[in-house]
């Protein structure tokens, strides 16, 4: 009997997550649990993955992303039937910075969905994985979290929160069998960035980013920049002195 890896994806309709799922199931059938807010949308992804890998088990869970109780119960229930090998926390949405500045309600939503919610999921998985001393928590952040910039600091701040969170978890689990991987994709060609594409922005193909994520999770790298060039770019941006940084419009 082949043992299928049990992989949970939170925010399974995210294009990056979906492509990771395709890579996970294609060589070896897996047990995938897809979590999303809208069952119809998640089912569409599930059907696609099932066609690609009929021998995989694919399960869909519809849940809330902003309620700590819902997160707690959902994650807890996942471990009832055995350990989880990989949890990929991938949900988020790209808010409009200017609208967030004008409307505090939107700002709150953006901070919660991109920052608080992934952190709560990570904590919930950490609790269960710690008990069994097994599993990898992978969280998709963003290069936007590396330094606050006028063009998207609401999103960036939320991703920065998750970045610190992952760093802390990583510290907590050092020397154990629980791994924490934090992924910082650069601008990627997904529905979330479609409006950027029409303005001529260079976007990385989602397949490439997914490949690096899946490989990075395999080797349990604490931080993955995808594509890799973003490591260099962000290193420069992080280290720019404020008086220069404030002069550039990014």
């Amino acid at each position: 009997m082949d043992i299928k890896k049990k992989i949970v994806i939170v925010g399974a309709t995210s294009a990056i997550a979906e492509h990771c799922a395709r890579l996970w199931i294609s060589p070896h059938p897996s047990h995938l649990i897809l979590i999303g807010r809208d069952a119809a949308r998640v089912n569409r992804v599930a059907a696609d993955l099932k066609v690609r890998s009929p021998r995989s088990d694919i399960q869909v869970i519809e849940t809330e992303f902003l309620s700590s109780e819902a997160i707690d119960t959902t994650v807890n229930s996942l471990f009832k039937s055995g350990v989880v090998d990989i949890a990929l926390i991938a949900h988020g949405s790209l808010p409009d910075q200017v609208e967030c500045q004008a409307n505090l309600h939107l700002c709150q939503d953006a901070l919660c969905i991109n920052g608080v919610s992934p952190a709560l999921y990570a904590e919930a998985f950490a609790k269960e994985m710690e008990k069994v001393n097994h599993g990898t928590i992978a969280i998709i952040g963003s290069v936007a979290g590396d330094r606050g910039r006028r063009s998207n600091y609401v999103y960036g701040a939320a991703k920065g929160l998750v970045n610190r969170y992952a760093q802390g978890l990583n510290h907590r689990f050092s020397g154990t069998n629980v791994k924490v991987v934090f992924i910082k994709p650069g601008p990627t060609d997904t529905p979330m960035t479609a409006h950027l594409k029409s303005t001529g922005a260079k976007l990385a193909p989602v397949e490439t980013v997914a490949r690096q994520i899946v490989d990075g999770i395999d080797s349990a790298k604490p931080v993955i920049y995808a594509p890799r060039k973003w490591w260099t770019i962000m290193m420069i941006i992080r280290h720019l002195p404020t008086f220069i940084f404030n002069k550039i419009n990014i």
């Binding site: 119809a40 569409r44 059907a47 696609d48 066609v51 690609r52 529905p191």
Partner: protein, 430 residues
């Protein structure tokens, strides 16, 4: 946005379609008329709508179901033929029809009713589509197929995206014993030899296609390639290595200096290598798919493809005439392809394939000079009751279009008034 021929970029309002359900909303709430766009692998303006809206289908990329017992596949319209092939081949199934590139969407393959190297056996793509879901800009959703709403189906297969947006399709796949092909290459010295080879091969070879030397003017010499699926598999799938033409060179690399030696060398090298061989389906069907963005090679002015089909009884004379005109012009290209279509009737009112022979050539864009040549070719095509392939076209005059597609008036009744493309305005007036 531009199409494969890169004849010029025009501004578009690009609206990505996110999923089949949203499509209804997305296309009906537009001020501008729009048209669907798959992978933009059409050469001219059939997939463009300058100044208007393009509904891109890249994200309609999900499979819905696949029955490995009977080969019925349901998927969304943005799924690539390449992804279908790679997914179904391990189960012993394949698409019955694939064009010269696999990087096209299911929607685009239906809307142009594309053909492959096996037309004489399997007809065109539409012959294998069992059902489509068509969404109109007034919000109506029409499910149609050869049995169900056959008129809508016949208008949409080959309908160039003008009847609505296809969101989903059901396709009947065919069994293959192996993804490997037993192939054979035979040199021919002239057109009569070509037609002789075609007639002989069609009875026992599923795939036939020829490369023809359109430059040397020695009367249609070329290389005839034919093949069948091998009986057994087991061979290791070759690793595909991809090369990209990294930038657009300032001038076309396809010019008189490069063409003659290329055609000469290609002919002699392959003649020397002629004979039996074996090939993996991807490299046999789509030899250019590993050379990414090869269309850049034609420089900033882009290029045209001229593909026509001539009914069998006039094919020999008309193609001989065309080759003479082309040789005289000194233009033409590396890619001159000649093949015969079989008798299988296309389902679509506006489908391109019909029984006869089809010649396809790329031409670097030299402006007026190129257009003058096309006019002479048009005259030959019309005289021989042939037609030009709209998927490859960017310039045919309206009368040539109308003469080639006698069911045009019938088709017009099915057009969606909220849809318009560069091609529809050029050839149908709106």
């Amino acid at each position: 946005m531009t199409s494969w021929g890169r004849l010029g970029a025009t501004p578009h309002n690009v609206v990505p379609l996110r999923d089949p359900v949203d499509t209804r909303f997305a296309i009906s709430h537009q001020n501008h008329r729009g048209v669907a766009r798959g992978m933009g692998r059409s050469y001219g303006d059939v997939c463009l709508n300058p100044g208007g809206t393009l509904w891109t289908t890249e994200k309609l990329n999900k499979f819905i179901s696949f029955n490995t017992n009977n080969g019925r596949l349901r998927c969304e319209a943005g799924v690539l033929l390449r992804d279908i092939q790679r997914m179904v081949i391990p189960y012993g199934w394949a698409l019955p029809v694939t064009p010269g590139t696999q990087v096209v969407s299911v929607g685009g393959a239906i809307a142009n009713d594309v053909h492959g190297k096996n037309h004489h056996v399997h007809g065109s793509f539409g012959n294998h589509v069992k059902k489509i879901c068509l969404v109109r800009t007034d919000g109506e959703v029409i499910s149609c197929g050869p049995e169900n709403e056959p008129d809508w189906f016949a208008a949409t297969v080959g309908g160039m995206g003008l009847t609505g947006v296809i969101t989903q399709a059901e396709i009947q796949l065919r069994r293959v014993a192996s993804p490997w092909l037993d192939t054979e290459t035979i040199a021919f010295a002239n057109l009569s030899e070509f037609f002789q080879l075609a007639d002989d091969s069609e009875t026992h070879c599923e795939y036939t296609v020829s490369w023809i030397d359109c430059i040397s003017g020695v009367g249609g010499r070329g290389l005839f390639m034919r093949g069948n699926h091998a009986d057994g598999g087991g061979r290791k799938v070759p690793k595909s290595s991809k090369l990209t033409i990294p930038f657009v060179p300032p001038v076309s690399l396809v010019n008189k200096l490069s063409l003659r030696p290329f055609n000469m060398a290609y002919f002699h090298l392959n003649k020397w290598k002629a004979g039996k061989g074996s090939a993996y389906y991807e490299s046999f069907f789509c030899p250019l798919d590993n050379l990414l963005e090869w269309n850049r090679m034609y420089g900033p002015k882009g290029f045209y493809q001229y593909q026509s089909v001539i009914p069998r009884r006039f094919a020999y004379d008309a193609i001989e005439e065309m080759l003479k005109e082309i040789a005289r012009s000194g233009d033409g290209s590396f890619l001159a392809v000649l093949k015969t279509f079989g008798n299988r009737q296309s389902l679509g009112m506006m489908s391109f394939p019909m029984s006869g022979a089809t010649l396809a050539l790329d031409f670097p864009n030299h402006g007026n000079r190129t257009h003058k040549l096309f006019e002479r070719l048009d005259a030959i095509v019309c005289e021989a009751s042939g037609r030009i392939y709209p998927a490859k076209d960017a310039r045919m005059p309206r009368d040539v279009f109308e003469a080639g597609f006698p069911r045009l008036n019938e088709f017009m009744k099915f057009r969606d008034p909220g849809i318009s493309s560069g091609l529809s305005r050029r050839l149908m007036g709106s």
